[in-house]
Symmetry: C2
Amino acid sequence: MNAPAAPQKAPRNLDLPALLAALGETLPPDQISTNAGIRDRHGRDESYHATEMPDVVVFPHSTEEVAAIARVAQRFQAPLIPFGVGTSLEGHVAATHGGISVDMGRMNKVIEVNAADLDVMVEAGVTRKQLNAFIKDQGLFFPIDPGADATLGGMSATRASGTNAVRYGTMRENVLGLTVVLADGRIIRTGGRARKSAAGYDLTRLFVGSEGTLGIITEVRLRLYGIPEAMASATANFPDIGAAVNTVIQVIQSGIPVARIELIDEVQIDAINRYSKLDLPVRPTLFFEFHGSEAGVAEQSESVKAIGEEFGMSDFAWSLKPEERSRLWQARHDAFYAGLALRPGAKGCPTDVCVPISRLADCILETKEDLIATGLLAPLVGHVGDGNFHLNILLDPDNAAEFARVKDFTGRLAHRAIAMGGTCTGEHGIGSGKIAFLEAEHGAAVAAMRQLKAALDPDNRMNPGKIFRA
Amino acid sequence: MNAPAAPQKAPRNLDLPALLAALGETLPPDQISTNAGIRDRHGRDESYHATEMPDVVVFPHSTEEVAAIARVAQRFQAPLIPFGVGTSLEGHVAATHGGISVDMGRMNKVIEVNAADLDVMVEAGVTRKQLNAFIKDQGLFFPIDPGADATLGGMSATRASGTNAVRYGTMRENVLGLTVVLADGRIIRTGGRARKSAAGYDLTRLFVGSEGTLGIITEVRLRLYGIPEAMASATANFPDIGAAVNTVIQVIQSGIPVARIELIDEVQIDAINRYSKLDLPVRPTLFFEFHGSEAGVAEQSESVKAIGEEFGMSDFAWSLKPEERSRLWQARHDAFYAGLALRPGAKGCPTDVCVPISRLADCILETKEDLIATGLLAPLVGHVGDGNFHLNILLDPDNAAEFARVKDFTGRLAHRAIAMGGTCTGEHGIGSGKIAFLEAEHGAAVAAMRQLKAALDPDNRMNPGKIFRA
């Protein structure tokens, strides 16, 4: 759904022929491309942001090659934009200032699995599904699931989270260490294999979520988990959003270690009924997943049921069996396409915010009123255990006036979340799309962020135009 | 046990009378002290490091006062050393370059408790016990327990953890946001109340563990937890350290959410028997604590018992009852003083390292051989669920030759842990005591840390001489 490619910007006096010659001395020919189709593919993500093509795409095979590329880029003052599989949602990979797209896709080896220590080291181009397939036979899994089969380097760079975060945390909690190539080609290794350390600054957490603006992540050490003995799923309906959210608050406060709690609103349920020919009650619905022992998941489920019933919950359905669990969650899995089908021909503009759970019902209700007032249709799903919710705003990509209304609406949504003590993005990141809200959220702290950026990237060549205006 | 105060260093041309005059214009007289006893108290922590007195101690009442102090300090190029209650262990508060000690003790208000969102905002001088007393009636608790009743600002600054970290994480995972005064007096607020955010750099995690070298933490927003419905304790003995550690590895890998797993070695058990007139089997012993529902903690305990028995565990004792739980853990609580009593008149030199759990048995066994070869006595306790262990090396503080041997030993221990993929400190921090090991652990990344330090503190006035050589 990307808008047509913007004319290439050349704010820098990039001597492209000389840069290409220098890259040619650094890498074999099959690791460099100036093909327009390939450049176009590397200048866009899955969002509505305009495609902005890099001047050249390189495909390194090792950290040392990334470092060599960075040294060439420094010599020619060329921007460097890391690229995973392009599933980001806020324009993260667009080459707003031209330069070199560094495609990490060929760095896709699982380097070492330490089953006893529950950690793994992967190259940045390994995807989460690839990792999970690799470690499954050892009884291990990596829980962070942002939906897309993103690379683990990209997930680190954007601080990804998703449905499992309520129990397992986000990439912030699950990255143990990184190998990073800095703007000048230096290679640093952050963190380590110990589960905790008090030795020096937490560089790992600084690079997690830095969206390529401080360095290129080439290797990631992750925390793993044993596959739970039992998993159970449940669904239940609520009289209104407030009742659903109050149930969630009580569940979290009781310390019930729910693995997933997803909310779908009645608009989305209606869409699913139409799309999947179902007859679900058109009410706000919570989807639960429980991980633990068989007795443990049964107990968790009983506790959740007891809490929900205090808030008017009905139709509680629960199962341990894989096929039944899939059936219960089917509506959640169908949500995306069911939502799009509400308006044939429309594209989805995804956006997310996150607020303290106590404000979640207010934030959702105000937002739904705003949608109606603005004349927009946007099914809602939420990782509500974290206070995080997503809208997929349905719009006609060729209607500029509608697009402008969508932009205004997402701005109001971001400011609403911030005013409630929340954040303009729970998991998609700032990219180029939410720069305007960073200052509203972090105030004077943004200047400190810029000082850190200037310290590690004095020429502003690392994914320029992201997080901060270039 | 601190060594006598070193002669005050004056590497800067600090115009002390003018500085004091300017502070006098900034703060009321009862918030400024140049009393030698007070300065001495603020130049030492609980470690063996030499006392180094600041030139003056100030007692701010608000973030704004801290900012005003910072502006005065900048004008006179005076170092600023934040002070909590002085329970750090690596010389963190010693004024190695003179300057102003900023005692946060009067900023001791709990600002707001959000029970629904399980978060709290406190001033940096609130201690963890004070916080827990404050929130107990609301059914809430803050789990991080480093032993000492440290301030939450100090715990943030040193990335504290302790016995509960295996389940609840460390300060890294439990600080949601900070108010920080920077070197030039700017006030920034990091993080927020949302459970997760992908908006900009993770400044919170950068300041957590920065040991006062990047700014002064004045307020801390923390994650809280509901007090579990049930707590249970258990103890068990093992034929050797390897069997105990293998049990721990299996427990963690099985995903059993144990709240605490502590190891005490046979030397320490022997000490406890003598000290507390007990008759415990002189074998490596694990202490467990379980949090959850009544059925949940019983199930966790059963699972642990089944695993331990595969590794030759014996004398498994378990209880839900508070008085019985206290009795079971008595030996663990007595460990510190029982250890000291092994060598009457000796002082303890505490040190800690942390390694991947798979290397924990090797690291402990090699270290115990080294202790014997070096002729040192040092009881061992370990937060073994994290691979973290502590030695309290018993030494005669007036014996310089012995002190030198201790220093050599702790150096070997740090390098051993690093060589095993671990860290030179799991929770005490670098301070001035472990600077030599930071480079060994982090290599080229230390230069990147120094670049960040220079960006936020260009004059190197924020707790100089800590983490890095000044």
